[in-house]
Protein backbone atom coordinates (compact mmCIF):
# COMPACT_ATOMS: atom_id res chain seq x y z
CA UNK A 1 0.00 0.00 0.00
CA UNK A 2 1.25 3.44 -0.90
CA UNK A 3 0.71 4.99 2.51
CA UNK A 4 2.82 2.32 4.12
CA UNK A 5 5.93 2.93 2.02
CA UNK A 6 8.91 3.58 4.28
CA UNK A 7 10.90 5.56 1.73
CA UNK A 8 9.41 8.03 -0.64
CA UNK A 9 10.87 9.08 -3.92
CA UNK A 10 10.68 12.73 -4.89
CA UNK A 11 8.17 12.90 -7.75
CA UNK A 12 9.18 14.58 -10.96
CA UNK A 13 6.02 16.60 -11.54
CA UNK A 14 2.60 14.98 -11.14
CA UNK A 15 1.28 14.81 -7.56
CA UNK A 16 -0.32 11.40 -6.96
CA UNK A 17 -3.96 11.17 -5.90
CA UNK A 18 -4.59 11.04 -2.14
CA UNK A 19 -5.19 7.63 -0.62
CA UNK A 20 -7.34 8.41 2.41
CA UNK A 21 -10.03 5.71 2.59
CA UNK A 22 -8.22 3.88 5.43
CA UNK A 23 -7.93 7.11 7.45
CA UNK A 24 -11.67 7.78 7.31
CA UNK A 25 -12.46 4.14 8.07
CA UNK A 26 -10.35 4.36 11.24
CA UNK A 27 -12.02 7.67 12.11
CA UNK A 28 -15.51 6.13 11.87
CA UNK A 29 -14.50 3.16 14.03
CA UNK A 30 -13.10 5.44 16.77
CA UNK A 31 -16.13 7.76 16.61
CA UNK A 32 -18.53 4.82 16.80
CA UNK A 33 -16.77 3.44 19.89
CA UNK A 34 -16.90 6.90 21.54
CA UNK A 35 -20.62 7.20 20.74
CA UNK A 36 -21.20 3.73 22.18
CA UNK A 37 -19.40 4.80 25.38
CA UNK A 38 -21.83 7.71 25.78
CA UNK A 39 -24.86 5.51 25.18
CA UNK A 40 -23.60 3.15 27.89
CA UNK A 41 -22.84 6.07 30.24
CA UNK A 42 -26.46 7.27 29.92
CA UNK A 43 -28.31 3.97 29.87
CA UNK A 44 -26.43 1.67 32.26
CA UNK A 45 -26.15 2.22 35.98
CA UNK A 46 -22.64 2.57 37.37
CA UNK A 47 -20.79 -0.48 38.64
CA UNK A 48 -17.87 -2.82 38.06
CA UNK A 49 -19.54 -4.34 34.99
CA UNK A 50 -20.02 -0.95 33.30
CA UNK A 51 -16.46 0.07 34.17
CA UNK A 52 -15.06 -3.12 32.61
CA UNK A 53 -16.98 -2.37 29.40
CA UNK A 54 -15.50 1.16 29.39
CA UNK A 55 -11.97 -0.14 29.87
CA UNK A 56 -12.32 -2.74 27.10
CA UNK A 57 -13.72 -0.10 24.69
CA UNK A 58 -10.85 2.25 25.64
CA UNK A 59 -8.30 -0.43 24.79
CA UNK A 60 -10.04 -0.95 21.42
CA UNK A 61 -9.80 2.79 20.71
CA UNK A 62 -6.16 2.85 21.80
CA UNK A 63 -5.45 -0.06 19.46
CA UNK A 64 -6.84 1.78 16.42
CA UNK A 65 -5.00 5.02 17.24
CA UNK A 66 -1.65 3.30 17.82
CA UNK A 67 -1.91 0.66 15.08
CA UNK A 68 -3.33 2.79 12.27
CA UNK A 69 -2.77 6.49 13.01
CA UNK A 70 0.65 5.96 14.59
CA UNK A 71 1.39 3.24 12.07
CA UNK A 72 2.79 0.80 14.64
CA UNK A 73 0.99 -2.16 13.04
CA UNK A 74 3.15 -1.70 9.94
CA UNK A 75 6.49 -1.39 11.75
CA UNK A 76 8.87 -4.31 12.39
CA UNK A 77 7.99 -6.89 15.07
CA UNK A 78 10.98 -5.75 17.14
CA UNK A 79 9.70 -2.20 17.40
CA UNK A 80 6.14 -3.34 18.18
CA UNK A 81 7.33 -5.52 21.07
CA UNK A 82 9.75 -2.91 22.47
CA UNK A 83 6.79 -0.58 22.84
CA UNK A 84 4.19 -3.09 24.04
CA UNK A 85 6.17 -5.11 26.61
CA UNK A 86 7.09 -2.10 28.84
CA UNK A 87 3.47 -0.92 28.60
CA UNK A 88 2.24 -4.32 29.77
CA UNK A 89 4.15 -3.83 33.05
CA UNK A 90 1.91 -0.84 33.76
CA UNK A 91 -1.11 -3.14 34.07
CA UNK A 92 0.55 -4.71 37.09
CA UNK A 93 1.30 -1.27 38.55
CA UNK A 94 -2.32 -0.21 38.10
CA UNK A 95 -3.81 -3.34 39.68
CA UNK A 96 -1.32 -3.34 42.57
CA UNK A 97 -1.75 0.31 43.51
CA UNK A 98 -5.55 0.37 43.17
CA UNK A 99 -5.76 -2.62 45.52
CA UNK A 100 -3.36 -0.81 47.84
CA UNK A 101 -5.65 2.24 47.73
CA UNK A 102 -8.61 0.19 49.01
CA UNK A 103 -6.47 -1.14 51.88
CA UNK A 104 -5.29 2.36 52.81
CA UNK A 105 -8.93 3.49 52.81
CA UNK A 106 -9.91 0.61 55.12
CA UNK A 107 -6.99 1.30 57.48
CA UNK A 108 -7.90 4.98 57.71
CA UNK A 109 -11.56 4.07 58.38
CA UNK A 110 -10.54 1.67 61.15
CA UNK A 111 -8.35 4.35 62.69
CA UNK A 112 -11.26 6.84 62.80
CA UNK A 113 -13.72 4.29 64.27
Amino acid sequence: MAQHATHDTVPTGEIPKPNTAWIWKTFWIISAITALEFVIAYLMSAGTFRNSIFIILTIFKAFFIVAEFMHLKHETKGLIWSILIPMALLIWLLVALITEGSYIGEAVQNLIN
Binding site: W24, I65, L90, G101
Partner: protein, 256 residues
Protein backbone atom coordinates in the same frame (compact mmCIF):
# COMPACT_ATOMS: atom_id res chain seq x y z
CA UNK B 1 50.65 19.24 3.21
CA UNK B 2 50.73 15.49 3.42
CA UNK B 3 48.50 15.50 6.55
CA UNK B 4 45.82 17.50 4.73
CA UNK B 5 45.75 15.12 1.84
CA UNK B 6 45.52 12.16 4.25
CA UNK B 7 42.56 13.77 6.00
CA UNK B 8 41.04 14.43 2.65
CA UNK B 9 41.47 10.80 1.68
CA UNK B 10 39.86 9.56 4.93
CA UNK B 11 36.91 11.90 4.62
CA UNK B 12 36.44 10.91 1.01
CA UNK B 13 36.29 7.25 1.85
CA UNK B 14 34.38 7.61 5.14
CA UNK B 15 31.81 10.27 4.45
CA UNK B 16 31.06 10.48 0.80
CA UNK B 17 29.98 6.90 0.31
CA UNK B 18 26.76 5.76 1.98
CA UNK B 19 27.46 3.51 4.93
CA UNK B 20 26.29 -0.05 4.55
CA UNK B 21 27.92 -2.07 7.35
CA UNK B 22 26.05 -3.31 10.41
CA UNK B 23 28.20 -1.47 12.97
CA UNK B 24 29.13 1.76 11.18
CA UNK B 25 25.67 3.29 11.07
CA UNK B 26 24.75 1.68 7.79
CA UNK B 27 21.64 -0.11 8.93
CA UNK B 28 18.51 1.21 10.60
CA UNK B 29 17.44 -0.72 13.68
CA UNK B 30 13.80 -1.78 13.36
CA UNK B 31 13.87 -0.36 9.78
CA UNK B 32 12.86 3.02 11.20
CA UNK B 33 14.88 6.23 11.00
CA UNK B 34 16.80 7.48 14.02
CA UNK B 35 14.38 10.37 14.53
CA UNK B 36 11.23 8.25 14.45
CA UNK B 37 12.75 5.67 16.78
CA UNK B 38 13.71 8.37 19.28
CA UNK B 39 10.19 9.81 19.09
CA UNK B 40 8.77 6.34 19.84
CA UNK B 41 10.93 5.90 22.92
CA UNK B 42 10.26 9.42 24.11
CA UNK B 43 6.54 8.67 23.83
CA UNK B 44 7.04 5.43 25.76
CA UNK B 45 8.61 7.40 28.62
CA UNK B 46 5.85 9.98 28.43
CA UNK B 47 3.29 7.18 28.58
CA UNK B 48 4.91 6.10 31.88
CA UNK B 49 4.41 9.60 33.27
CA UNK B 50 0.74 9.69 32.32
CA UNK B 51 0.23 6.12 33.54
CA UNK B 52 1.73 7.16 36.89
CA UNK B 53 -0.75 10.04 37.07
CA UNK B 54 -3.74 7.84 36.26
CA UNK B 55 -2.56 5.09 38.64
CA UNK B 56 -2.28 7.73 41.36
CA UNK B 57 -5.84 8.76 40.55
CA UNK B 58 -6.95 5.13 40.92
CA UNK B 59 -5.16 4.69 44.24
CA UNK B 60 -6.46 7.92 45.75
CA UNK B 61 -9.99 7.31 44.52
CA UNK B 62 -10.07 3.85 46.11
CA UNK B 63 -8.59 5.25 49.29
CA UNK B 64 -11.62 7.55 49.66
CA UNK B 65 -15.19 6.63 50.53
CA UNK B 66 -17.75 5.66 47.89
CA UNK B 67 -21.11 7.40 47.53
CA UNK B 68 -23.74 4.83 48.59
CA UNK B 69 -27.10 6.44 47.65
CA UNK B 70 -28.95 6.69 44.33
CA UNK B 71 -27.44 8.86 41.56
CA UNK B 72 -30.56 11.10 41.61
CA UNK B 73 -30.10 12.00 45.29
CA UNK B 74 -26.37 12.71 44.88
CA UNK B 75 -25.04 15.80 46.66
CA UNK B 76 -21.47 17.08 46.72
CA UNK B 77 -19.64 16.25 49.94
CA UNK B 78 -16.05 16.11 51.08
CA UNK B 79 -16.79 12.71 52.66
CA UNK B 80 -16.88 10.69 49.45
CA UNK B 81 -15.56 10.77 45.89
CA UNK B 82 -17.95 12.62 43.51
CA UNK B 83 -19.73 11.01 40.55
CA UNK B 84 -17.88 12.59 37.57
CA UNK B 85 -21.01 13.19 35.47
CA UNK B 86 -22.46 15.25 38.35
CA UNK B 87 -19.35 17.48 38.35
CA UNK B 88 -18.90 17.88 34.60
CA UNK B 89 -22.44 18.64 33.43
CA UNK B 90 -22.19 22.27 32.23
CA UNK B 91 -22.07 23.54 28.66
CA UNK B 92 -21.08 27.06 27.51
CA UNK B 93 -24.15 29.20 26.81
CA UNK B 94 -26.56 26.70 28.36
CA UNK B 95 -26.45 27.86 31.95
CA UNK B 96 -28.43 25.78 34.41
CA UNK B 97 -29.02 22.86 32.03
CA UNK B 98 -27.89 19.47 33.31
CA UNK B 99 -25.92 17.98 30.39
CA UNK B 100 -23.77 15.21 31.87
CA UNK B 101 -20.46 14.91 29.99
CA UNK B 102 -21.87 16.90 27.04
CA UNK B 103 -18.97 19.34 26.84
CA UNK B 104 -16.31 16.69 27.34
CA UNK B 105 -17.93 14.72 24.46
CA UNK B 106 -17.44 17.74 22.24
CA UNK B 107 -13.80 18.09 23.35
CA UNK B 108 -13.18 14.40 22.64
CA UNK B 109 -14.60 14.72 19.12
CA UNK B 110 -12.47 17.83 18.44
CA UNK B 111 -9.33 15.94 19.43
CA UNK B 112 -10.25 12.87 17.34
CA UNK B 113 -10.86 15.17 14.37
CA UNK B 114 -7.48 16.82 14.87
CA UNK B 115 -5.90 13.36 14.79
CA UNK B 116 -7.57 12.65 11.45
CA UNK B 117 -6.39 15.93 9.90
CA UNK B 118 -2.90 15.14 11.23
CA UNK B 119 -2.77 11.74 9.45
CA UNK B 120 -4.06 13.49 6.32
CA UNK B 121 -1.11 15.91 6.57
CA UNK B 122 1.34 13.00 6.95
CA UNK B 123 -0.27 11.25 3.98
CA UNK B 124 0.02 14.43 1.88
CA UNK B 125 3.70 14.61 2.88
CA UNK B 126 4.28 11.12 1.45
CA UNK B 127 2.91 12.40 -1.87
CA UNK B 128 4.99 15.63 -1.72
CA UNK B 129 1.76 17.61 -2.02
CA UNK B 130 2.88 20.84 -0.36
CA UNK B 131 -0.54 22.54 -0.64
CA UNK B 132 -2.32 19.60 1.02
CA UNK B 133 0.27 19.41 3.83
CA UNK B 134 -0.29 23.11 4.52
CA UNK B 135 -4.07 22.72 4.44
CA UNK B 136 -4.21 19.76 6.83
CA UNK B 137 -1.61 21.24 9.19
CA UNK B 138 -3.73 24.39 9.44
CA UNK B 139 -6.84 22.33 10.24
CA UNK B 140 -4.91 20.43 12.92
CA UNK B 141 -3.67 23.70 14.46
CA UNK B 142 -7.25 25.01 14.43
CA UNK B 143 -8.66 21.92 16.16
CA UNK B 144 -5.79 21.88 18.66
CA UNK B 145 -6.36 25.54 19.53
CA UNK B 146 -10.11 24.92 19.84
CA UNK B 147 -9.46 22.05 22.24
CA UNK B 148 -7.23 24.30 24.36
CA UNK B 149 -9.92 27.00 24.44
CA UNK B 150 -12.50 24.41 25.53
CA UNK B 151 -10.17 23.32 28.30
CA UNK B 152 -9.73 26.94 29.40
CA UNK B 153 -13.52 27.21 29.70
CA UNK B 154 -13.75 23.89 31.54
CA UNK B 155 -11.09 25.01 34.04
CA UNK B 156 -12.76 28.39 34.55
CA UNK B 157 -16.08 26.70 35.25
CA UNK B 158 -14.46 24.17 37.59
CA UNK B 159 -12.62 26.91 39.52
CA UNK B 160 -15.65 29.24 39.72
CA UNK B 161 -18.08 26.50 40.72
CA UNK B 162 -21.87 26.43 40.96
CA UNK B 163 -24.13 29.06 42.51
CA UNK B 164 -25.31 26.71 45.27
CA UNK B 165 -21.82 25.72 46.35
CA UNK B 166 -21.34 23.08 49.01
CA UNK B 167 -21.66 23.29 52.79
CA UNK B 168 -18.20 22.41 54.05
CA UNK B 169 -17.34 20.65 57.32
CA UNK B 170 -16.39 23.99 58.93
CA UNK B 171 -19.95 25.30 58.36
CA UNK B 172 -19.19 27.68 55.47
CA UNK B 173 -20.45 27.40 51.91
CA UNK B 174 -17.65 27.04 49.38
CA UNK B 175 -17.90 27.63 45.63
CA UNK B 176 -15.62 26.12 43.00
CA UNK B 177 -12.16 24.73 43.57
CA UNK B 178 -8.55 25.51 44.30
CA UNK B 179 -5.65 23.28 45.32
CA UNK B 180 -6.57 23.38 49.03
CA UNK B 181 -10.39 23.29 48.96
CA UNK B 182 -13.18 22.39 46.54
CA UNK B 183 -16.95 22.05 46.53
CA UNK B 184 -17.05 18.77 44.60
CA UNK B 185 -15.44 16.30 46.97
CA UNK B 186 -12.17 15.44 48.73
CA UNK B 187 -9.33 17.97 48.29
CA UNK B 188 -7.34 15.55 46.14
CA UNK B 189 -10.17 15.29 43.60
CA UNK B 190 -9.60 18.86 42.40
CA UNK B 191 -5.80 18.51 42.71
CA UNK B 192 -5.82 15.47 40.43
CA UNK B 193 -8.13 17.26 38.00
CA UNK B 194 -5.71 20.19 37.76
CA UNK B 195 -2.61 18.04 37.48
CA UNK B 196 -3.86 15.44 35.00
CA UNK B 197 -5.84 17.66 32.62
CA UNK B 198 -3.23 20.40 33.05
CA UNK B 199 -0.35 18.11 32.12
CA UNK B 200 -2.32 16.88 29.12
CA UNK B 201 -3.18 20.46 28.13
CA UNK B 202 0.51 21.39 28.30
CA UNK B 203 1.19 18.56 25.87
CA UNK B 204 -1.52 19.82 23.50
CA UNK B 205 -0.03 23.31 23.73
CA UNK B 206 3.48 22.03 22.89
CA UNK B 207 1.94 20.09 20.00
CA UNK B 208 0.26 23.21 18.62
CA UNK B 209 3.61 25.09 18.83
CA UNK B 210 5.37 22.26 16.92
CA UNK B 211 2.59 22.26 14.31
CA UNK B 212 2.87 26.03 13.79
CA UNK B 213 6.61 25.59 13.29
CA UNK B 214 6.03 22.71 10.84
CA UNK B 215 3.55 24.84 8.91
CA UNK B 216 6.11 27.64 8.55
CA UNK B 217 8.81 25.17 7.50
CA UNK B 218 6.46 23.59 4.93
CA UNK B 219 5.58 27.02 3.54
CA UNK B 220 9.28 27.89 3.26
CA UNK B 221 9.88 24.65 1.39
CA UNK B 222 12.31 23.30 4.01
CA UNK B 223 10.97 19.73 3.83
CA UNK B 224 10.80 19.81 0.04
CA UNK B 225 14.50 20.75 -0.14
CA UNK B 226 15.29 18.05 2.41
CA UNK B 227 13.63 15.50 0.15
CA UNK B 228 11.17 14.15 2.73
CA UNK B 229 8.40 15.25 5.10
CA UNK B 230 9.56 13.00 7.96
CA UNK B 231 9.39 15.88 10.44
CA UNK B 232 5.62 16.11 9.86
CA UNK B 233 5.44 12.37 10.51
CA UNK B 234 7.35 12.66 13.81
CA UNK B 235 5.18 15.54 15.02
CA UNK B 236 2.23 13.42 13.91
CA UNK B 237 3.35 10.59 16.20
CA UNK B 238 3.48 13.03 19.10
CA UNK B 239 0.08 14.48 18.22
CA UNK B 240 -1.60 11.05 18.07
CA UNK B 241 -0.02 10.18 21.41
CA UNK B 242 -1.65 13.26 22.94
CA UNK B 243 -4.99 12.10 21.51
CA UNK B 244 -4.32 8.62 22.88
CA UNK B 245 -3.68 10.01 26.37
CA UNK B 246 -6.95 11.92 26.18
CA UNK B 247 -8.77 8.65 25.38
CA UNK B 248 -7.47 7.26 28.68
CA UNK B 249 -8.01 10.46 30.69
CA UNK B 250 -11.56 10.55 29.34
CA UNK B 251 -12.28 6.98 30.47
CA UNK B 252 -10.60 7.11 33.87
CA UNK B 253 -11.50 10.65 34.86
CA UNK B 254 -14.91 11.22 33.29
CA UNK B 255 -16.54 7.83 32.61
CA UNK B 256 -15.71 5.35 35.39
Amino acid sequence: MSTISTTQAISDSALDKPRTGTWDGGNEPFKASYGKLMMWFFLLSDAFTFAAFLTTYGLIRHRHGVYEGTPEAFKFSTNYWPIPEKVFDAFPGLHGTHLPLGFVALMTMILIFSSVTMVLAVEAGHRFDKKDVQKWLLWTILFGATFLSCQAWEWTHFITGTEEGTLMNDGTVFHGANLAMNQYGPVLFADLFFFITGFHGTHVFSGVCLLVWAFIATTNGTFEKRGHYEMVEKIGLYWHFVDLVWVFVFTFFYLV
